[in-house]
């Protein structure tokens, strides 16, 4: 097990290196430079000076080597757009709200989704099943910003139950969380329902019934664990996309999150922030995939990893 995790970490480092390299050169292909959008207020000599200051006048491979050398030491450089603020700093302050929202949406959404899917499967072919199916399809097919807009309009503007926007306390998280959690909830419900139906039709559930086990025990002790495995597969990547911020929701509710920051950096060619954020997303993604793989083993003994000898 330890050996396996160690091996995975080495792969992760290699993967990150490849991602960093690819991102760096792709980013350099972006049109424009960080300093050319000032509307002619800057003379060429000034621009030249700035380029030199940030090392942008050097050939790209040299810049790449310097950046990588810095990254290995934990230095992600300084931002071009915010008075030379440290990139690590920017990312950390911006990541907080996004991660908070994402975690909230993911936890509530997936738990509700699993419950919804399970009950739909248990009450297969009843109005409950049909209703939850329709809800799930709506949740999957309608984009989150539509919900965000509706929620904002009714709950904040019309009924004044929640603040319209900004990020000043727990109550401010309610509407964006709901808008964000609908998609994961719908996905979980769909997967859970179909998986649960399959599991409930299996021989071992029938055997459990033949043992005289009660319905509830069958659901929670026998079926849930087997049915939840595919749900975890979809939850992994979804966690990353939720935690790393969703641009649209952050814009609508004026949440100072990292998604919004990321897009702005791309628009302004803020290379260090683009790199830093991409690297952060990659690290999170890879770590979560590792966690999901380890979780599989925890849930399903058939795919438990044994290091060589049992």
């Amino acid at each position: 097990m330890v050996k396996y995790i160690f091996q995975r970490i080495i792969y992760m480092v290699i993967t990150l290196f490849i991602i960093a390299t690819a991102t760096f050169f792709l980013m350099k292909l972006l049109p424009g430079s960080p300093f050319n959008d000032l509307g002619g207020k800057m003379t060429e000599a000034q621009e030249q000076l700035l380029m030199e200051k940030y090392g942008l006048d050097e050939p790209v491979p040299v810049q790449y080597a310097k950046y990588m050398a810095g990254m290995v030491q934990g230095d992600l450089g300084v931002s071009f757009q915010y008075d030379n603020r440290n990139v690590t700093d920017i990312i950390l302050t911006r990541l907080g709200p996004s991660a908070h929202l994402g975690a909230q949406a993911l936890i509530i959404g997936s738990i509700l989704g699993i419950i919804l899917g399970m009950t739909a499967a248990i009450r297969h072919n009843t109005w409950w099943d049909y209703t939850s199916n329709v809800l799930a399809v709506i949740g999957i097919s309608i984009p989150s910003f539509v919900f965000a807009g509706l929620l904002q309009y009714y709950f904040a503007v019309q009924w004044r139950l929640f603040p319209v926007s900004f990020w000043e306390g727990p109550i401010y998280t309610v509407l964006p969380t709901i808008a964000l959690m609908i998609f994961p909830m719908a996905i979980c419900a769909r997967f859970m329902r179909s998986e649960m139906l399959e599991v409930l039709g299996s021989d071992y559930i029938e055997l459990a019934r033949a043992k005289g086990v009660s319905n509830n025990t069958i659901m929670f002790k026998h079926a849930l664990r087997n049915a939840v495995i595919p749900v975890i597969t979809v939850l992994g990547p979804m966690t990353v996309s939720l935690m790393t911020g969703t641009l649209v929701i952050e814009q609508i509710f004026a949440v100072p999150g990292i998604g919004e920051q990321f897009v702005r950096s791309i628009n302004t060619n803020d290379y260090p922030v683009i790199m830093g954020t991409s690297m952060l997303f990659s690290v999170m993604f890879i770590v979560i995939i590792l966690i999901v793989d380890l979780l599989y083993g925890l849930i399903d003994p058939r795919i438990r990893i044994t290091g060589g000898k049992d």
Partner: protein, 349 residues
């Protein structure tokens, strides 16, 4: 002696979009203490559905029991609620399933799967249940039981898994054990082991067994009595000797005729022509008439009652009526009847 289980005129139907399928259409049998009753018949004849009805495992709401009684312990099981059936399932009556590869929960240790029933029905503590589970594993012949109890099903072979399933079924010393084709998914050597195991356990515990199979070789080996089912009804019932040495129903002849013999490698197997009838619209008269070369006019019009051949032997065919022409079973079947005498003897010794 009173039978332990008495099934009377049992009907089981399933509602589907196309209509109601009458899977079981009036089955009567009684099971005595310590006896093994084999139910044979081809796929779709209602064998499994009958036993599921006994266990109260007919899938609701599509499946239901419109008529009939299942008398067990003075109670009519068809009248019990699900909660009440839960107390009987696994305790008084338990079941062994066909495919051991799929009938154990893959994410639960086998020990826990065995202990579950013990804790539920016998109110044992975890520790007592664990000790009992180890005993059961020893009983069904799983070596190294103290270690194996903490393993998962995928760490067992097919035959070993079926032993675990048997252990689960036996956990609470059930009065009736229903085995639904317990050896079909196993290879021949393992089949023999599992059959031996079941016979052994029956001797030790004096359990009554209902054994569903379509393997007549297995029937000769394990059963005391045999019920032949066709299209949701029992068409012939008798002791093993009655059925193998003196079969009366043309369908039983067909089953015997389609069984390969040990020595007869030069002869063809005789298949029963046609397919079983559509039980959504069961035919008028004898359901087997369309496939029966001895069918008479009356077979198409009226269903035959069970004619008594002897005290133990009944068959539902008009051929047994006094006015019917005397028909001998076909030569091939006669040969096999003899073949079975020797095969049966060998198996018993």
């Amino acid at each position: 002696m009173d039978p332990i289980l008495d099934v009377r005129n049992l009907h089981v139907s399933f509602d589907t979009y196309g209509g109601t399928v009458q899977a079981v259409r009036g089955v009567d049998f009684a099971l005595k203490k310590g006896e093994t009753l084999a139910i044979v018949g081809e796929s779709g004849s209602g064998k499994s559905v009958t036993t599921k009805a006994l266990m109260g495992l007919v899938a609701k709401p599509a499946g239901h029991i419109p008529k009939g009684e299942i008398l067990f312990d003075g109670k009519d099981l068809t009248k019990l609620s699900n909660k009440e059936m839960q107390k009987i399932r696994g305790k008084d009556m338990s079941m062994i399933f066909q495919d051991p590869m799929t009938s154990l929960n893959p994410t639960m240790k086998i020990g826990k799967q065995i202990m579950e029933g013990l804790i539920l029905h016998q109110k044992l503590s975890k520790k007592e249940a664990r000790n009992r589970a180890i005993e059961l594993l020893d009983l069904v012949g799983i070596p190294d039981s103290t270690k194996r109890i903490d393993q998962y099903p995928h760490q067992f072979s097919g035959g070993m898994r079926q032993r675990v399933v048997v252990a689960i079924a036996l956990a609470c010393n059930p009065k009736v054990l229903i085995a639904d084709e317990p050896t079909t998914a196993l290879d021949v050597t393992i089949q023999a082991q599992i059959l031996e195991l079941m016979k052994d356990i029956q001797k030790k515990m004096d359990t009554s067994i209902i054994f569903i199979t379509h393997d007549l070789g297995v029937v000769a080996n394990v059963a005391d009595r045999v019920a032949v089912m066709y299209a949701g009804k029992i068409v012939e019932v008798g002791t093993v000797d009655d059925i193998f040495y003196n079969p009366k129903h043309p369908y039983t002849w067909g089953l015997l005729g389609s069984m390969p013999t040990v020595d007869g490698n030069d002869e063809k197997l005789i298949a029963i022509p046609g397919t079983p009838p559509d039980l959504m619209n069961p035919p008028k008269g004898d359901a087997f008439a369309a496939r029966n070369e001895y069918a008479m006019q009356i077979d198409l019009e009226e269903e035959p009652p069970l004619f008594k051949v002897s005290d133990t032997h009944y068959a539902a065919t008009w051929l047994l009526h006094d006015d019917a022409p005397k028909v001998e079973p076909p030569e091939a079947v006669k040969k096999r009847m003899k073949g079975n005498i020797s095969a049966g003897e060998e198996n018993r010794s």
